[in-house]
């Protein structure tokens, strides 16, 4: 069992016993001067590292300073004020990270959407209105309309483009009406004003893990992840500078080709590093969210890779696509349902990748390399999934078993590296030229 699993033994929290849940959470928020001091020293050390290495940019360091200073106040507040304080910090902090017009407009649109979502209208009517608002905003994004800057549209997209669908899905099955506090704490999250690529947090997970164990353990986990994220961002910087050029006529040997391909894959360290820092920051305020990436460079199979890299996206797809499709089709055969559901997950991922591109960059991404990448990856994951089902999980011991694991890991790494370089090439022709130039000249 993983370390996280064996240590995550939080309280009993069900909606059937809200009083017990509130008590447990309040207990988990109990303050300790020593615990606070230890945390503060670590945060100060992190801040020094951010400054010394000029991590990211100045806005990132402003974000970190607001969060760390906010933690120092938040920690001592009575439990009932804690989440409202975090919301106020996020709203106020947005004015330090965005221009005043953009920050105000994001809040206005968020509150307007809540007005629709929390209204007494039938669920389908509310969904229809939200879709209409989304289309109008999409028009604004495409045309940079309504006199709003590009930065505003990027942040608006980063906040709502995926999480809104999760929220509406959960709303459909919710036992009680959503509260404004829970809504604001889910959407208007301070780090999201800086980080445009943001983990697709699950609404239920955010609520369920809030102060689910002692705050000092939650915070320590967050600091550990921020440190891991910092190391990954520094490694990213090294990879960025050391990676061979992408110009095909400069790839004159197999070594340079391999270096280019591995380097291209390792550039992803920036995303995983940022995600670790984002979730780490949220831990400071009691959100005991799970990790976003789990040693993805050591994946043993492609299915394993899919489960380890951007775990929040995988969970989002499982929740919104895989399970609904599977449960609808399973009467016609388990395996058939699983294959169709998996294929639809990759189809949705491909489409939503382009949709994300639209909100963040203003154009749609439909290239052959992107399309083929998701098709190949999806096909291989399906094959892998079917093969895995035939095998039973048994503990492996001995040097032979370990050697097999090492070979599988190395093979998977090589396959992903090749696929990744293909995905990042502007056209199929460019990629073919890139990988063959060193041989044909």
């Amino acid at each position: 069992m993983s370390v996280e699993a064996s240590t995550l033994t939080g309280s009993i929290e069900t909606k059937a016993r809200p009083g017990i849940v509130a008590d447990a959470r309040e207990r988990h928020a109990a303050c300790s001067l020593v615990g606070f001091a230890i945390t503060l020293v670590q945060l100060a050390a992190l801040m020094v590292v951010f400054r010394v290495f000029q991590l990211e940019d100045r806005r990132f360091r402003i974000l970190a300073a607001i969060c760390f200073a906010g933690f120092a106040v938040h920690y001592w507040l009575p439990f009932r004020y804690k989440e409202w304080f975090w919301i106020a910090l996020s709203l106020g902090g947005s004015y330090f990270l965005l221009d005043a017009l953009s920050a105000t407009m994001v809040i206005v649109i968020a509150v307007g959407l809540y007005g629709v979502i929390a209204s007494a209208l039938p669920y389908r009517t509310r969904i229809a209105i939200v879709i209409l608002i989304g289309l109008a905003l999409g028009y604004g994004r495409a045309t940079l309309g309504f006199g709003l800057p590009n930065g505003f549209w990027q942040v608006l997209g980063a906040i709502f483009m995926f999480r809104l669908s999760v929220y509406l899905y959960d709303l459909r099955h919710a036992k009680s009406a959503p509260t404004l506090r829970e809504y604001l704490a889910y959407f208007l999250v301070l780090p999201n004003y800086y980080f445009l690529l943001f983990p697709v947090m699950d609404y239920q997970t955010l609520r369920k893990t809030y102060y689910q164990r002692d705050i000092h353990r939650i915070v320590q986990q967050g600091i550990d992840w921020m440190l891991r994220g910092t190391v990954q961002l520094l490694l990213y910087r090294a990879v960025f500078h050391l990676k061979p050029s992408a110009a095909p006529d400069e790839i004159t040997s197999f070594g340079l080709l391999a270096g280019y391909m591995v380097g291209t894959y390792l550039l992803y360290l920036r995303v995983s590093g940022q995600f670790h820092i984002i979730v780490g920051l949220l831990h400071l305020f009691g959100y005991d969210l799970p990790e976003t990436h789990r040693r993805y460079l050591l994946a043993r199979t492609l299915t394993d890779f899919w489960r380890r890299i951007n775990i929040y996206w995988k969970d989002y797809m499982v929740k919104m696509v895989y399970f609904p499709v599977y449960f609808k089709l399973r009467r016609s055969g388990e395996r058939r349902a699983q294959v169709i559901a998996t294929a639809l997950v990759f189809l949705a991922t491909w489409l939503l990748h382009s949709y994300q591109w639209f909100w963040l960059r203003g154009t749609w991404l439909f290239t052959w390399t992107d399309t083929l990448f998701w098709a190949i990856l999806g096909g291989l994951v399906i094959v892998n999934l079917l093969m895995e089902q035939k095998r039973r999980r048994v503990p492996r011991t001995g040097w032979r078993a370990q050697a097999v694991v090492a070979l599988q890991t190395a093979g998977t790494f090589c396959l992903i590296v090749v696929l990744w370089s293909f995905w990042n090439a502007p056209t199929v022709g460019t990629w073919v030229e890139l990988v063959t130039f060193w041989r044909v000249g």
């Binding site: 699993a5 009993i12 059937a16 899905y169 099955h173 999980r393």
Partner: protein
């Protein structure tokens, strides 16, 4: 209720954590958010629960709210079982 919890625990240990001590898998150990159960093993557990307790689960009931901890899953099963 305890029987359901123990049966679910035994199933998870046997199928997904072979060699693990049942004492390490507590009623409130997160299963999904910790990575013990992935989507495929969640479906395996859904089949186990449905076959053994005569209940039918919907897609949304496999979310974190109902399906992340043994105690939550057992409570869901109890709620869905016809009254005796």
């Amino acid at each position: 209720m305890t029987d359901i919890r123990n049966a679910i625990r035994q199933f998870i240990i046997a199928e997904y954590l072979p060699g693990e001590s049942p004492d390490n898998l507590k009623d409130d150990t997160p299963l999904r958010t910790s990575g013990i159960l992935d989507s495929m093993s969640t479906l395996g557990l859904v089949s186990f629960v449905e076959e053994n307790y005569g209940v039918k689960l919907d897609a949304h009931e496999t979310g974190i709210e109902y399906f992340d901890r043994i105690e939550d899953i057992a409570a869901l099963v109890r709620r869905k079982q016809p009254a005796e």
